[in-house]
């Protein structure tokens, strides 16, 4: 089913975030097998995908739109450096504005519209009561820097990767809901550098192969992959910056609150070539589902148990699950008859 934005819920303090039955049904459950292993799991993001699914359009807008935009505003007000764009990325930012505005207006005409006359553009976002006219390509005609202007109207984190010397460089982005990585620290890094802390995968040649694939993506042929971790509480901002605020969440778990507090966090990552700058737009759309909601699907419940039970220790450590991995496996085992 298609999702309409609902009133603002929170991803912090009282964590009022919840998924409707429709949102649970379309959740992108990421495991094709009972055992999770690294792979270069990249596939074409051909649109339109199945109607109502998270793969239907280039950019997914769902019932959490207003909540996520409110959360992003809180994060950026607290720390404006969660959004940055190096000066040479201005053209790529405008590529991103064009691609996102055109996609949103075409895919969600009830919420967004775009009219253009030469380089005079008018953009309307009825969900956020925004209506702006500006000169395309002229950043001084926007009320905010282009990355922040567009990023504040999109669910998920965005990065723009500059392609040079056969490598990709993290030179712009808006990152307010990351799975434990810092844009301010990683800015300017090459592909293998920003994946530096990931265990095992370098030795398997995963990044080398992925980089070859990604640098060859042509305009108009986006690709996607899913990534996952677990998050305690429905917390979007699990950044290193704010880790002192959420580190203790992990110690708050007991056998009685695992189902309510532990969330499967899935990232739908899409990479899309920008036509003028040759940059790649990297969107990281995050979906959260509580274990209580996840186990309403018996197939997911059984598989989640098996994936966690067989997860290599290096990945348990890297994903920050050490303190509650056993507890989560034990709780899920009640949904797996084979145990």
């Amino acid at each position: 089913m298609r999702m309409s934005p609902k009133p603002v819920q929170t991803f912090r303090d009282d964590f009022s975030y919840s998924n409707s039955p429709g949102a649970i049904a379309r959740f992108p459950f990421p495991f094709p097998d009972d055992e999770y292993r690294y792979s270069v799991n990249i596939e074409p993001h051909t649109t339109p995908g199945p109607e109502g699914s998270v793969y239907e359009f280039l950019l997914d807008i769902d019932e959490h739109y207003l909540s996520e935009m409110a959360e992003r505003d809180i994060v950026l007000k607290e720390n404006p450096q969660r959004c940055l764009a190096m000066p040479h990325m201005d053209l790529a930012c405008w590529d991103m504005i064009e691609r996102c505005m055109q996609s949103l207006a075409a895919d969600y005409p009830q919420h967004f519209s775009l009219s253009t006359e030469g380089d005079q553009w008018t953009w309307e976002n009825r969900l956020l009561n925004i209506k702006d006219s500006f000169t395309f390509g002229d950043s001084s005609t926007l009320p905010l820097p282009p990355m922040e202007y567009m990023g504040r109207q999109l669910q998920g984190d965005f990065a723009l990767l500059d392609q040079r010397d056969g490598d990709l460089f993290l030179d712009a982005g808006i990152v307010t809901c990351p799975a434990d990585w810092s844009l301010a620290f990683d800015a300017g890094m090459s592909f293998s550098e920003w994946h530096g802390p990931v265990p095992l995968a370098h030795e398997m040649g995963v990044f080398e192969r992925a980089l070859k694939y990604l640098t060859a993506i042509p305009v108009g042929r986006p690709v996607r992959r899913l990534n996952w971790t677990l998050t305690v509480n429905a917390r979007m901002d699990t950044s290193p910056e704010t880790y002192p605020n959420w580190g203790t969440d992990r110690a708050s778990l007991t056998a009685d609150n695992v189902g309510e507090k532990v969330h499967l966090r899935v990232e739908l990552q899409v990479l899309d070539r920008m036509p003028r700058s040759n940059a790649l737009m990297f969107s990281i759309r995050t979906f959260l589902i509580s274990f209580d909601d996840l186990v309403t699907n018996p197939d997911w419940a059984r598989r989640m148990h098996r994936v966690l039970k067989t997860l290599p220790p290096e990945l348990v450590e890297y994903k920050g699950l050490g303190r509650y991995h056993d507890l989560a496996v034990e709780w899920l085992s009640q949904y797996d008859p084979a145990n």
């Binding site: 620290f185 910056e241 580190g247």
Partner: protein, 181 residues
């Protein structure tokens, strides 16, 4: 499968070698690291080589900042075959390299000698403070006071390793001090 525990963003350094064909041989060092470049400098003809030495002073900013104006002037007139050799502490090496890139050099023209000390520059991921001369982990952040685990994840743009609060999950945790390698 052989597991290499090192983090891939951590740079590996090799001793610089003179590229004899360079139109300008440019040497930049901190005052206590000159011996690393001395043998190379001796092989150069006097007319084709220049050496800039950064002396510790009281100026604000990093040591590399004090050279910035002069380095930009030298590089703005430098031939395209210029080679740059840098020696000093690790943060200094990358500051000079970043200045050289913004002046139009490319990495192939630049050689960084193995850092003269194991002390690291540290970036606090919570308050973004940069600290110099960090020799052990955990290290107390001079900006926010948090106790930081010094990781091997390195950012060339900052010339720094990342520090993350070590006891955020359990403030009572007993911690051992480790000397950085």
């Amino acid at each position: 499968m052989q597991i290499d525990p090192s983090i891939k963003s951590r740079p590996k350094y090799v001793a610089p070698e003179l590229v004899a064909s360079a139109g300008l041989q440019l040497f930049v060092s901190e005052s206590d690291a000159g011996h690393l470049l001395e043998p190379l400098y001796r092989q150069c003809s006097e007319s084709g080589a220049q050496w800039l030495v950064a002396e510790p002073g009281n100026a604000p900013g990093t040591l590399a900042d004090s050279l910035s104006g002069y380095l930009q002037r030298v590089l703005s007139d430098a031939p395209v075959t210029t080679r740059l050799y840098v020696a000093g502490s690790e943060g200094f090496l990358w500051d000079i390299r970043n200045q050289a890139l913004s002046a139009g050099l490319v990495d192939e023209q630049i050689q960084l000698a193995p850092p003269v000390t194991k002390a690291r520059r540290l970036f606090c991921t919570h308050c973004y403070t940069l600290m110099e001369g960090v020799t052990s982990s955990p290290h107390t952040c001079s900006g926010c006071g948090r106790l930081l685990l010094v990781r091997d994840h390195f950012a060339r743009l900052h010339g720094a390793y990342v520090g993350v609060q070590i006891n955020a999950e359990d403030p009572e945790e007993q911690l051992e001090q480790e000397v950085l390698q």
